[in-house]
């Protein structure tokens, strides 16, 4: 009996050892092949500069979203300036026929047309078929955790919800994609990209590595009703360019006694409370993640945010209901003409323009900077998702996934995301060109907002925001002081993150 048990244990250990060895060999093969391609050579010309010669009339020859189901017949698709790096076909990726990509939702003309364009361009240029696996984001989070925990090799490429990225990196669930990036590359992209994909928290690897490439991004932008502020004798041009909380508070006061509010924020649930909280924190130059990597909320700027939120509500400058505002409430209020200025994600701009006349009734502006804090700036909030490679996938398909990543980092993919689908672009040049060609209304404002966008992600972020909601809401309603709220929050964070 003992002998049988010993043999069983030995066999199991051997299998596990072999699996580990195979995985290690796969990693080596993948990285060797990836490095041999030379993604970092000529990247600027291939991904960005080639677009300088992309004629605007061809770019704008796009499909009809209501009728067409593919991009392949359009001028924009056929002239798209991206080529995979030379020599990729001589590597193991040359043997790949197809890759499966988990997309958050349907990658079709109705719901995700820019992703469809990218998939089709990838197929056209590489001959590798894309098999989309379409799962809504909420379900996808759990499904990804399941197949990655089971070390399943499919899908080979997957979209990853932004806040989950560090969680997955910590668990060794995302493949390193270092060959895609070079240090000088970051200047061409919005700062949030680096915050999203670059991590040093993988317990299996030392140092800083990159773990993904762009998927989609949202960013906050200011939404102003110039006609309403004009009625209160405030010149709407004061909101152009640089402005601060001084003007915000002046506007709030100006609307006192009317049935319109100057400003409103979200405080109704953990997700939305922390949209408003973080934005007001970043506008002072405050941060949640300190330089030593610890998460800190018991700080001056954090206390200032809670104090301001309390004062504005207590003074009646914002609706008392803000404490119950979640998704949609603020938007409804703005569209009902009951609030003159509100921060919202950029996809709200086209919706506002459907209802209000541009410039006279509605204007997208950069959010204000704080009038206090260590480093006030007109910061906005960026909420991106990334696309990453499954570390348990076959080495050849992982290399094919990198080529897909190269396309995701390219100008045409980012151009379509911004100009056709209305998502934010990860690439700065797209905003400049869109503004120069007057392709997207308020495109320059969106570009500036996202350029000043701050992204902070840390492990257990959602759980921490959940637990912080209670003391923070109590501070906003005046039940406890801002100092007490941040101290309670910090106590929880320290125990949860063991810091």
């Amino acid at each position: 009996m003992k002998r049988r048990r010993f043999l069983t244990a030995t066999a199991a250990a051997s299998v596990m050892g072999m699996t580990g060895t195979v995985q290690g060999q796969q990693d080596d093969t993948y990285l060797q092949a990836a490095r041999s391609i030379g993604f970092d050579q000529n990247w600027q010309q291939r991904r960005i500069q080639a677009a300088s010669d992309w004629p605007m009339e061809q770019r704008m020859d796009v499909p009809d979203r209501q009728q067409d189901t593919t991009w392949t017949g359009t001028g924009s698709f056929q002239s798209a300036p991206w080529e995979p790096p030379e020599g990729w076909q001589d590597t193991i990726a040359g043997e790949v026929d197809s890759i499966q990509i988990l997309n958050h939702g349907a990658a079709n003309m109705e719901f995700d047309p820019a992703t469809l364009a990218t998939h089709e361009l990838f197929e056209e240029k590489t001959g590798i078929t894309v098999e989309p696996l379409e799962i809504g984001v909420d379900q996808a989070n759990l499904r990804e955790q399941q197949f990655l925990s089971a070390q399943q090799g499919e899908p080979q490429v997957m979209n990853v919800d932004g806040p989950l990225t560090p969680v997955f990196v910590q668990q060794g669930f995302l493949e390193v994609v270092d060959p895609l990036y070079t240090s000088e590359m970051w200047d061409s992209y919005i700062p949030a990209l680096r915050s999203l994909v670059e991590w040093d928290i993988n317990p299996r690897l030392e140092g800083t590595h990159q773990y993904g490439f762009p998927n989609i991004a949202e960013g906050t932008v200011g939404n102003l009703r110039p006609d309403l502020v004009q009625e209160q004798d405030i010149d709407p041009s004061r909101f152009d360019g640089e402005w601060s909380w001084d003007l915000l508070e002046e506007m709030m006061q100006a609307f006192e006694g009317t049935d319109v509010f100057g400003y409103a924020y979200y405080a109704g649930n953990p997700v939305y409370l922390f949209y408003s909280f973080r934005q007001l924190l970043y506008q002072q130059g405050g941060r949640l993640v300190a330089e030593d990597g610890t998460v800190q909320v018991d700080t001056g700027p954090a206390r200032t945010v809670l104090q301001k939120m309390f004062e504005w509500r207590d003074n009646g400058w914002v609706p008392g209901d803000v404490i119950a505002y979640g998704e949609g409430d603020l938007i409804d209020l703005f569209l009902a003409g009951r609030v003159a200025y509100a921060d919202a994600f950029s996809d709200f701009v086209p919706r506002s323009l459907e209802q209000y006349e541009a410039d006279t009734q509605y204007r997208a502006v950069q959010p204000p900077m704080a009038n206090t804090g260590p480093d006030p700036s007109q910061a906005s909030l960026v909420a991106p998702n990334c696309t990453a490679i499954n570390p348990f996938a076959d080495a050849a398909q992982k290399v094919a996934g990198l080529i897909y990543g190269d396309l995701r980092l390219s100008y045409p993919s980012q151009w379509w995301e911004f100009t056709y689908e209305g998502n934010l672009s990860f690439m700065d040049k797209v905003y400049d060109d869109a503004a120069a060609g007057d392709v997207v209304q308020y495109g320059d404002v969106l570009g500036n907002a996202v350029d000043n966008g701050v992204l902070e992600l840390f492990p257990q972020q959602q759980a921490i925001f959940q637990r912080l909601t209670d003391p923070f809401q109590r501070a906003i309603t005046g039940e406890i002081s801002a100092e007490e709220a941040t101290a309670q929050g910090q106590e929880f964070i320290d125990s949860a993150l063991n810091q």
Binding site: N141, L142, Q145, Q146, S149, Q171, D259, F261, G268, N269, P270, R313, G316, P319, G320, D321, V322, I323, A324, G326, D329, D332, L333, A336, R338, Q462, A463, Q466, D470, Q473, R474, I476, T477, E479
Partner: protein, 317 residues
């Protein structure tokens, strides 16, 4: 002999199989009839409850996919969490508030309906009343949320137009009024059920009892106090028990109306469980709180049923 030959199954393999199946069915008729029901019970009740117990004894790691046996950890965490006790307090206020309102209003409406002489008219009233019961609870919550919206709600609009309010009141932004509103919304959806149960109870009271009390000189209130209420007690308790049990476990209305806010003022236990189980995927902890919820409900139900049985015996005696 001839008849024996006529009824004997043919000596084929199918015939033999048929006979065996028939004999097995005759011998195991109870198991065959009850089996599917018992199996369904095991699948939809026993297994989930057993899994709930198992889950509550394990701490959850990594999105609920990995667990670690720690039989007391979740319960210790639950009992030491002040937010949990806040949720218990809010649940008791919410459930007893809803119970009180729905039973008292339900009784008044049932008494009024009982006085309607024409049966067809009474049926129309009852049907109309039941419509509010048919509205899905989440829709009830959203409707009340919009009615009491501080800026765009119809309640503030009416009160401002009537001059009752000088400025818009933030009903859902205030802890006390938010709790009152979710209780009102909950009881609004439960009043029809209480009414129907009590109307049935009222109609079962023998008319002779009222006639006898009237001959003895009893006033209307005395007839209500000494005839109606004692006879109505079982209906009252049945309606009360069921209403309270649903209100104690309520999720849809408080979630859709206030999401548990402001600042946890309406965070009942079901929302607390949702927060940990669904939003944070801490299934172990959420299961422990669910066990608490189930245990309290069962204890109260047992006490209530006992009281009802005693009362029925008293009436029968």
């Amino acid at each position: 002999m001839a008849s024996e030959t006529r009824y004997r199954a043919p000596q084929t393999s199918f015939g033999r199989l048929k006979r065996r199946v028939s004999a097995f069915a005759n011998d195991h008729i109870r198991a065959l009839l009850l089996g599917p029901t018992l199996l369904a019970l095991v699948i939809i009740f026993v297994y989930p409850v057993a899994f709930l117990v198992w889950s509550s004894l394990h701490t959850t790691l990594g999105f609920g996919l990995e667990t670690q046996f720690a039989p007391t950890a979740n319960y210790q965490q639950m009992l030491s969490d002040p937010v949990f006790w806040n949720a218990v307090e809010k649940t008791l206020i919410y459930s007893f508030g809803s119970l009180l309102l729905s039973l008292s209003v339900g009784l008044v409406v049932a008494l009024a309906l009982d006085k309607v002489v024409r049966r067809r008219v009474r049926d129309v009233y009852t049907t109309l009343l039941l419509l509010s019961w048919a509205v899905p609870l989440s829709i009830v919550g959203v409707t009340w949320r919009w009615m009491f919206n501080g800026q765009l709600g119809v309640v503030n609009k009416i009160l401002l137009d009537l001059g009752v309010l000088s400025s818009a009141y933030s009903w859902l932004g205030n802890s006390l009024s938010a709790m009152v509103i979710v209780i009102l919304a909950d009881s609004w959806s439960r009043i029809p059920f209480a009414t129907v149960i009590m109307l049935a109870g009222l109609q079962a009271i023998p008319r002779e009892q009222y006639d006898a009390a009237k001959i003895d000189g009893a006033t209307t209130f005395q007839r209500f106090r000494h005839v109606t209420l004692p006879y109505l007690r079982p209906s009252f308790f049945v309606a009360g028990l069921i209403t309270w049990m649903f209100a104690f476990r309520a999720f849809a209305i408080p979630m859709a109306t206030t999401s548990g806010g402001p600042a946890g003022a309406t965070e009942v236990l079901a929302i607390y469980i949702h927060r940990f189980g669904i939003q944070l995927t801490d299934y172990g902890f959420a299961s422990a709180v669910s066990m608490f919820l189930v245990a309290v409900t069962l204890v109260v139900a047992a006490v209530y049923v006992n009281v009802i049985l005693v009362q029925i015996q008293e009436i029968e005696a």
